[in-house]
Amino acid sequence: MAEQVIKVERLTKRFGDFTAVDEISFEVNKGEIFGFLGANGAGKTTAMRMLCGLSIPTSGAASVVGFDVYEQTEDIKKNIGYMSQRFSLYEDLTVIENIKFYAGIYGLTKKQIKQKSEELIDRLGLHSETKKLVGALPLGWKQKLAFSVALVHEPKIIFLDEPTGGVDPVTRRQFWEMIYEVSAKGVTVFVTTHYMDEAEYCNRVSIMVDGRIEALDAPRKLKEKFNVSSMDDVFYLLARGAKKAAI
Amino acid sequence: MKQFLVFIKKEFAHVLRDRRTLLILFGLPVVQILVFGFALTNEVKNSRIVICDYANDESSQALIRKIEASEYFDAEKITLSYSDIEKSFKAGKIKAAVIFPVNFDNDLQHLHKAQIQIISDASDPNTGNTINNYLSTIITDYQRQMIENANIPLRVTTEIRMLYNPQLKAAHNFVPGVMALVLMLVCVMMTSISIVREKEMGTMEVLLVSPYRPILVILSKAVPYLLLSLVNVATILLLSVFVLELPIVGSVWLLFLESILFIITSLSLGLLISTRAKTQQEAMLISMMGMLLPTLIFSGFMFPVENFPLPLQLISNIVPARWYYIIVKTVMVKGLGFSAIWKETLILTGITFFLLVVSLRNFKKRLE
């Protein structure tokens, strides 16, 4: 049995009388690429924000890298990376300034910062762009840079909230190559998406409908179970029953 | 036409949905009227002064009673040395000191001449000056009473009549000013920010690629603000009539017509800014620094225009609020008709026309 880095039991979040996340339970293993699927408004982002320590659950239990999501949010934050669907680098800072800034606030030493930023720029091939303002970069590059920056402090888990929204297929492919790379190094990847072809790249996926997890397994097994040929069909079958479906 | 209504509905929804916007739209005018009407007077009242009575005789006491009775002063009788007076000035505790010398009564009765010293804190010239004037008047009055019986020949008396504002209320001056200020604020700042916001969020592009004509896009932005501004005008007028008890002497319709003209002026200014500014922050800074402060300064309601140095007087001529302020004052307070303000109206129309042409041209250019 692999080490479990995320454990979630009957986790619930209510806003007033609206239940955004309704008693979900699952585990994520170390080094796994865990896909978190669902239609818009199904509760993906809310669930993810609770796991990142951005939002306190209403009830249920969850731990991330061994820390409790109620009490130890700040300890969780030290051990995770996060990249949101909204672009989160400073557009009016240069590439190198952004890297050094984020490395700095995660408490890396001067030596580490220098080494890390060189490594990162090498890997992305951004040598000629280091002094450019991030705002001037094409979107695909921005996303790749944001991903790398989110990994700069070597977190145990990285949370990606619709990381490939709006980028071209080539960049998406490269992006997933980067995801595989970090996963191979033992970093757990928790990713939300609504591109079903991306779901196929995950080790396991969960599908959320109306705040509940309706299915959770490896993509291949899900397809067998529902007797369809693609993840797209699996998703369609499940989401069709949603009360507030937005597909 | 149906599209137009849809658009206007959307615009209203934007404005009315956000409490903070409503606060500015309707809260600010109300607060301003109340504050200007009740709190801000150029009058000087309740000034703290000390009276140092070294004489302590009949005359000095009689005069002191008169000073104490005045609502202008909050007088305290205490004997202070010069250095103590200075200390009180420095701590900002008192505004003036009145000093009666020893033998005041004696000098007055026998030498027919006595002296009172007034030391005032002139760091605030307005207050200092006014206090000096009030004190001098009280003293002169007292003196006149003393000689009242001694039947003086060749007495010239003067009857003063305060026209339009017999109680010298500050509201007569401020209400027209606040109207100019609020309309400027709502129309210029709100419109420019709301248009630029659509630019920033990219929704402007969506509107412009729709079959909807660009000129209608602008019009439908303008109509809600025109209506909201008229609501504001009505609110301000109601408040000033019923709360500040400042009646509208002239024609209400004329007042509204002129207000519509000024609102259009302001809307075209807002449009002009929005064609220039790229971000909301820029739009706000231009509206604030470029429009609001000049309105406050140059319209003449805070500071008398005739006191400006010549270059500033010239600048004030192109500030629309200045003309609107004169118009409102003339119609509302003086109660005169259109014949008294046709010149101001003409100037305002000219400015509006100019602004509209420039901003529409700019807007078109951006489209091409």
Binding site: Y106 | V35, L154
Partner: protein, 372 residues
């Protein structure tokens, strides 16, 4: 500590790169300090006067000459009738009408008493009051002159006269600019601190970068300090520019210690920044932040005593001014610059502003949540 250094570095880079903000920080104080004091002149001079002279006598001529010579009035016209005079007032060509009744001189000598009529356009109450007082003063003087001419002077020497000696301290020439510059400077520093800080934080909210901060282990107070310190420094720069402009253009040298101004400003800025920060925690968009801070700062400035005296306000607004930090800053600026007040004089103000700052900042920190 290291974290704060990184935050500060980032903040300064962004500020220095933003040309609009820089222009606002540098240019606005200069332009405002040059223009505002020139315009904000309450001194009543150049009152326009028209005289309806129905008498055309030596006395009426004498009175007119006296008024012209006084320097307070600009004689605009001699209308034929009071009605014509009223038209001049309606068109704002004249502020005051003085009408001299027919047979003024003859009746004065015959009846020993005569009445003059003065009508003042009182829409602007202050101007009316002062204008009226000037006219009265001149008439009184005129009266005593003709009296001494008519009757032998010695007979009246036993009328008691009270001589009023007025001494104006701190600003003997009643120069309005010296009074306005410190006040306007205080307002500029306030706007800088209140607006720009609120906008800056909300901008991070709109862009989503604040989320990235919240998901990092960065401490709450580090983040806040990282935001406050740059704007605190900007405020101090605005103050320095303003004091320099005041010296170069108006020759204003503070009577008191400059160090005291900075000490007070240092504490004051913390409370204004607290306000800006508080506004930002209640706003989701820049537009909301602008409107909120505009609303409060506008009221604060109106009730600050910048233009009008607080003593004359009704009780309920006086109570509001106790909680208005701008009031204290303007008072202290004027006290130090004009009167040379010392540390003990401003201590009460300093403590109150510190108290307000403490409350605002604690409120803001409580309301700012990394985790919702």
């Amino acid at each position: 500590m290291r974290t704060i250094r990184f935050l500060l570095q980032k903040e300064f880079r962004q500020i220095l790169r933003n040309k609009t903000i820089l222009a606002v920080v540098v240019m606005v104080p200069i332009v405002q300090l040059i223009i505002l004091p020139l315009a904000a002149d309450y001194e009543v001079k150049n009152v326009s006067l028209c005289i309806v002279d129905n008498d055309h006598s030596t006395y009426s001529q004498k009175l007119i000459a006296k008024i012209t010579a006084s320097g307070y009035f600009k004689l605009v016209d001699f209308p034929e009738s009071y009605r014509d005079g009223l038209k001049l007032i309606e068109s704002d060509k004249a502020d005051v009408i003085l009408s001299i009744p027919s047979n003024f001189e003859r009746n004065l000598i015959r009846d020993d008493t005569q009445e003059l009529f003065v009508s003042v356009n009182a829409i602007n109450g202050v101007k009316a009051n002062l204008g009226g007082a000037y006219v009265l003063g001149i008439i009184r003087e005129f009266n005593s002159v003709i009296r001494t001419e008519w009757i032998q002077a010695p007979r009246f020497s036993n009328i008691p006269v009270i001589d009023i000696a007025i001494t104006n301290w701190y600003n003997p020439y009643m120069n309005y600019k010296i009074f306005m510059v410190p006040g306007i400077l205080a307002v500029l520093v306030t706007m800088m601190g209140g607006y720009v800080s609120a906008l800056n934080i909300v901008k991070e909210k709109e862009l989503g970068t604040i989320e990235q901060m919240n998901v990092s282990p960065i401490r709450k107070h580090h983040f806040i300090l990282g935001k406050l310190i740059p704007f605190w420094i900007l405020g101090m720069i605005v103050l320095t520019i303003g004091l320099t402009v005041g010296f170069l253009i108006y020759g204003i040298v503070p009577e008191g210690k400059i160090g005291l101004i900075y000490l007070f400003a240092a504490v004051y800025l913390v409370s204004v920044l607290g306000l800006g920060f508080l506004v930002s925690t209640y706003s989701e968009t820049q537009q909301q932040a602008m409107f909120l801070s505009f609303f409060f700062i506008m009221i604060f400035i109106m009730l600050s005593g910048l233009f009008t005296s607080i003593d004359s306000m009704p009780q309920w607004t006086k109570v509001i001014t106790w909680f208005n930090p701008v009031t204290y800053f303007i008072q202290v600026m004027r006290m130090i610059v004009l009167k040379g007040s010392g540390f003990m004089d401003i201590l009460p103000h300093l403590l109150k502003v510190a108290g307000i700052g403490l409350v605002l900042n604690i409120w803001a920190i409580r309301n700012y949540k990394k985790t919702s």
